[in-house]
Point group: C2
Chain length 260, copies 2
């Protein structure tokens, strides 16, 4: 379901931009009061303004959790709002725990919040992933995070760990076709190219573009071909004085990433 | 703060048992209604009955998140309750995201929920850990999870990844003395023994005992010495028909794990 919706949405919008909803509390424009009502208005306005350019939205659970119970209510409202305007939702929650706990996290993400896809940290192996797939929704395994210090972990070993995660994704894809993708940061083009060769069929969620400085041109050049991907931009759109224009600029910059 | 409180609590109680609060919704005893009120009564009763034997409590965020906003309110209530009865709280949340997001998760865990310590998945490296340490609280890095499928990740490479995580813990301990521990599952005694040799000063949170079948005797024998640790038991106490007796039995079984 997620895959078809996300593809249809990209086609409809004409670009593979995913707008990340990471409302850092100290960065809300001054005209929004910092309480929950202001946050709601800020997010509503952001969705309205970026809709012509955004194929997907990716709320980041942390910025809602830090508001306590009413933040969780708002997260659910925002997911409903995005569905109303016809876009799929990736919940960026980076969950990763053993099977029985993963089941509970899956119920939270899919039954309570109604996200269409979720990001998962595969540190605990397949056990931590399967409960999410069993619910028929889509999972992005965190293979290549975009932040610098992740290198110590994801490039560990030979072959490096991120390739092991790519293989885990392929193995899961066989059992859950059309439900598995990878997170592949734009800040690591050479490693993303290895992931592309290893698992060309697994779509990517690409963070690290925008404020984090990753270059799509370098990424494209490194992989030397097309790879289905949604490219996430958060702060560089959210906190731009003109979010509509910023989203449109990023949509053009990104284009349609598609390997089919 | 956490370390002193946890040590004092172990001394007071006479054992290193941490009671895990993982209220699987389909395993609540029949006399508790499955709605939030029943869950609250179940947890209150569990805390009351296990208090003479429990040095710490470890609520698992997933089983509260799956109840939506009112689950988060209940989680805060339960943490407050545990503090009222004089025990420290480890929030088992396995968070792990990049710096700005980690700051938001840290605010959620410490400012909103008031946990004393948290479990962290170090897949994204130090960036994902430092924001929690910067708030002066205690962090358990997930080094050796207790579930079988984690082997594919944590034993990856040579030296294996979990040793790299142990080293990361040591490096962080230098900058944040008394704030860093490791999760070391009882189901992996040989690997835990390596962690003990590598980082004898980092206290452990030990899952995998009880329902998961890890043996404390094997763990003790493998490490061949003493290592400060809190041993977590969740389901085998929570869902025992006699939680008070089960907790006391586990307290005796565990004894005081201490290397000082």
């Amino acid at each position: 379901m997620f895959l078809e919706c996300a593809r249809a949405s990209c086609q409809h919008v004409g670009g593979s931009l995913c707008v990340g909803l990471d409302p850092h509390p100290d960065r809300l424009p001054a005209r929004f009061d910092p309480a929950i009502g202001g946050l709601r208005r800020f997010l509503d306005e952001t969705i309205k303004k970026t809709l012509p350019s955004a194929s997907l939205y990716k709320p980041n659970a942390a910025f809602f959790e830090e508001r306590g119970p009413e933040g969780i209510s708002l997260l659910k409202e925002i997911i409903d709002r995005v569905h109303e305007v016809g876009r799929p939702v990736i919940l960026d929650a980076k969950r990763g725990d053993i099977a029985s706990t993963a089941h509970a996290y899956a119920r939270a993400a899919f039954d309570v919040l109604d996200a269409d896809a979720i990001t998962i940290v595969p540190y605990m192996g397949e056990d931590a992933v399967v409960p999410f797939l069993d619910r028929g929704r889509f999972v992005f395994l965190l293979a290549l995070p975009s932040n610098p210090s992740a290198a110590a972990v994801v490039e560990h070993g030979s072959p490096p760990l991120y390739e092991r995660i790519g293989r885990m994704g392929l193995e899961l894809e066989v059992r859950y076709p059309g439900q598995v993708g990878l997170v592949a940061g734009a800040t690591r083009p050479a490693q993303a190219a290895s992931l592309h060769r290893l698992a060309p069929s697994l779509p990517w969620l690409v963070p690290g573009v925008g404020s984090q400085g990753g270059s799509l041109a370098e990424l494209s050049e490194a992989i030397g071909g097309r790879h289905e991907a949604w490219v996430n931009v958060s702060r560089a759109i959210l906190f731009d004085p003109e979010p509509a224009a910023a989203a449109e600029m990023w949509k053009r910059e990104i284009g349609v990433w598609r390997n089919a």
